[in-house]
């Protein structure tokens, strides 16, 4: 019943880090890695690889930079088949910071790009690919991209880019199932030699539903986070996704333990989830920035 090609990528630390300036303790990250490893999750995205020259290390936690040494320390001694992924933003990474794959604990590097920056993304991915990494391009804010621009970007990615996977990213949590179906089918029709991935946001409580829709239409790379943690409304909860997928290699229980011990206490300190201003931002296809400002103001429930 299950589709062996499906890979689940957990981005708890990477997307969750957008709420707390990447300040998770090494202990917490280690607990997440351990639970994901025991659960058989394919990838763990452990943060961003931003250039330390561009961002002051005093203001951000270690998961904005993801030094190999820090990663090695948190994964040390934990039996695991879970591969480590990091994300890079165009213009915020120094490609010289990235060592050849065989010297690094990182397996996959994902380039986040707007459709308009696709040429820069392709150049960057090809350099990273050349160093031996698995690579992805995550096309962000997909619901702001006109159809002809999307087709052109996908065409270029198919012809010029070494990336193994191209992700459709519903940055604003605007998608309903019908448009998810449309976009995944479009991507599959153009990307003949690559896998297609989906990353949803939960503004309208549809991150999981849209992920199922993406699976139905043959997306094989799926992003999710533990207890749905992530900026603003958060992401597709990995515990629901593992419950849906039938592959016997997955075990939901270590994730449930992690939620009970770590995520529920954390939710009392930092906020994410179904909150009306984020739902409205989703309905209006808007960045959650304004809604996030409102949540930090005195009129937070207004």
């Amino acid at each position: 019943m299950f589709r062996e090609k499906i890979k689940v990528l957990d981005c708890t630390i990477r997307d969750g880090g957008l709420i707390n300036d990447h300040q998770f303790s090494e202990e917490f990250v280690r607990a997440v890695y351990k639970a994901l490893s025991m659960s058989g999750v394919d990838y763990m995205e452990i943060g961003y690889k931003n250039s330390a020259k561009l961002f002051p290390a005093s203001e951000f936690g270690p998961w904005k930079f993801c030094d190999d040494e820090t990663i090695n320390r948190v994964i040390d001694g934990i039996p695991s088949k879970t591969k480590i992924s990091v994300m890079v933003d165009i213009g915020r990474v120094d490609v010289n910071d990235i060592k050849p794959k065989k010297e690094s604990p990182i397996t996959m590097i994902r380039v986040a790009s707007y459709a308009k920056d696709i040429d820069k993304a392709i150049k960057l991915v090809n350099e990273i690919h050349h160093k031996g990494y698995e690579t992805c391009v995550n096309i962000m804010a997909i619901t702001k991209v006109l159809d002809n621009e999307l087709v052109e970007a996908l065409d270029q990615l198919e012809k010029e880019c070494s990336a193994d996977v191209i992700y459709i990213v519903d940055s604003f949590g605007f998608l309903y199932q019908e448009t998810t179906e449309y976009l995944i089918k479009k991507a599959k029709s153009i990307l003949k030699t690559k896998e297609v991935g989906f990353h949803g946001h939960n503004n309208q409580q549809l991150a999981f539903g849209n992920t199922i829709e993406a699976i139905i239409h043959n997306a094989n790379y799926l992003d999710a986070t533990v207890y749905g943690i992530g900026r603003a409304a958060g992401n597709c909860p990995i515990e629901l996704l593992l419950g849906f997928l039938k592959n016997p290699k997955f075990d939901i229980r270590p994730i449930l333990d992690l939620i009970s011990k770590e995520l529920i206490p954390l939710r009392d300190q930092i906020e994410w989830g179904y909150i009306i201003p984020y739902a409205l931002a989703g309905m209006y296809n808007a960045h959650p920035k304004e809604a996030m400002d409102l949540r930090e103001s005195e009129k937070k429930e207004n």
Copy 2:
């Protein structure tokens, strides 16, 4: 773009009443009625019409009995096109308590029934229909019904029952989109002379997604509640549903005000929503009873 036949039924007070033994104040119910009326919602289900001979009025609030006098008091003076609905359970209602439609503020009466009790439901609906009410049958626990039993129940409803609408009810929040599609299509194929409705539960954050799926496959009666309130994981949030539907008669703003003023404070007193034990009950196609007991125990996050 919109489908005029679509009707939205709010069951905030009825399903929400399952959390607090139907103890909402008249002020609160009036505020909900006012907001729904201003938002153009088609129906408001205001509670159950249970026999006061069977349940002690000292243990339950007024919305378990829904006397016409109480209803008249809370709706008095509010301009509204929103019709009032109540739900009855087989064996818990005294049909003699139900006055002829023209003497009552109630427009619609919905009979909740398991598939195995469909003969009793049909008898009850036909009596109620004869008194002049719009009528529905809500087939509960649909994910426990074998296909042949469902086909037989639907056949009987089509041939022997006066109900205007037959609802598919995902009592346990077990449905994914594919099975929702299957069930709605099946119901539509048999119920040639009736409308089909859908009532989701949000255990797996799919109540809204499944409701969209039901709409795509021509269900025209849709249940939802303000801010998703309802027993255990709750229901499809009406604010998301109105955001999705394109009919210009709907206005989401009065609902948002109501959430801000009434529902967010209420959520601090009574619990519903995405909570792991309810998610697991959904995955296992189980009644949330055990999970609800756990939430009331000391090990609530275990």
